[in-house]
Symmetry: C2
Subunit: 193 residues, 2 copies
């Protein structure tokens, strides 16, 4: 097996993530964001905000995790945070992980698959911090776009607090900041009580 | 100074990179790629291809470098690889680096500014490997889109070999692979002799 060619084929395949669009929009509200842009933003956020993790994190591991956490959406599509059908999503993503990480040589493929599972399980310090950032970015996007995705889907403040609460498991300071953003969004009328 | 607020403001500012479009197109030729997508792709490539660096690299440092290497284009814009006016570009980018990295608290801002300079100078193992990937991705894009940007700008094979030659400084094996891609592009008529 030509290892380099195999890796290049994977690099070509994952280009498709640039066409998976999310519910939230760029901070200037000009258009929806895609998964590649979102993953890039989380990676930079990991580096800039690492000091705010409550438990010490391996920064490289966390960056790897956020860079690849949405690759399964190439096959499974984007699921809105407030969607109900979580089991169907889970099954699709498991199959997607097998196929996509399975394109890589064994060592790298297993590493990526394990990182993705760790992210999904949200138990380690790295996964909890990554999950916190994965909530912070769309929260900021909703606040800066007058509540675009919230209004579109009729989301209320108690749902936002519930769905974003696990930011606290990664960073109490980020959760404090997030709560202020949510309260401010309610005051401005971007989010219904 | 509220450090967290300052960092969040930086995170909001750099969203603008998602609107800086490059000369090359997605692998499926559907549209041009933007700098956030490009930076995400280089970060994943760094992780997947790190073993191909001829000199040992610090992977986290290299990933940081590629994630932030194009932030200056928020102010300076994208410059096509084969453009002539390099001095004007350089001056604009220096000013942009001052402003954009200057938004961060001193420690992180200095680190990012130094990483960007190191990338530009292409002397360390990390910068040479990052620069190799920064050439590999658009080369692959041109090869997979029937030479889109090459044809548009009338670029010839000697220019492509000259502009991409420094891939060899980061990885001889990647340069061998790249040369085969270029030869294949000529054979298929995507690139003129």
């Amino acid at each position: 097996m030509d290892t380099l060619k195999t890796k290049i084929d994977f690099i070509i395949e994952i280009d498709k993530i640039k066409k998976i669009f999310r519910q939230t929009r760029l901070f200037d509200n000009s258009r929806h964001e895609n998964d590649a842009e979102h993953s890039w933003h989380l990676a930079v956020m990991t580096i800039v905000l690492a000091d705010y993790a409550d438990r010490s994190i391996d920064v490289l591991k966390t960056v790897k995790m956020v860079l690849i956490h949405d690759l399964v959406e190439i096959d499974a599509g984007d699921t809105f945070l407030y969607d109900k059908n979580k089991q169907d999503k889970k099954n699709k993503e498991l199959k997607a992980a097998e196929r996509i990480f399975g394109m890589l040589p064994e060592e790298t493929g297993s590493e990526f698959h394990a990182l993705w599972q760790e992210f999904e399980e949200r138990e380690t310090p790295e996964a909890q911090f990554a999950a916190a950032l994965d909530r912070m970015e769309p929260l900021m996007q909703n606040c800066l776009t007058n509540g675009f995705a919230w209004k579109k889907h009729g989301i209320k403040v108690h749902q936002v607090k519930e769905a974003n609460r696990h930011i606290e498991n990664g960073s109490r300071e980020l959760w404090n900041f997030a709560q202020k953003m949510i309260d401010d969004a309610v005051k401005k009328g971007y989010l219904e009580k």
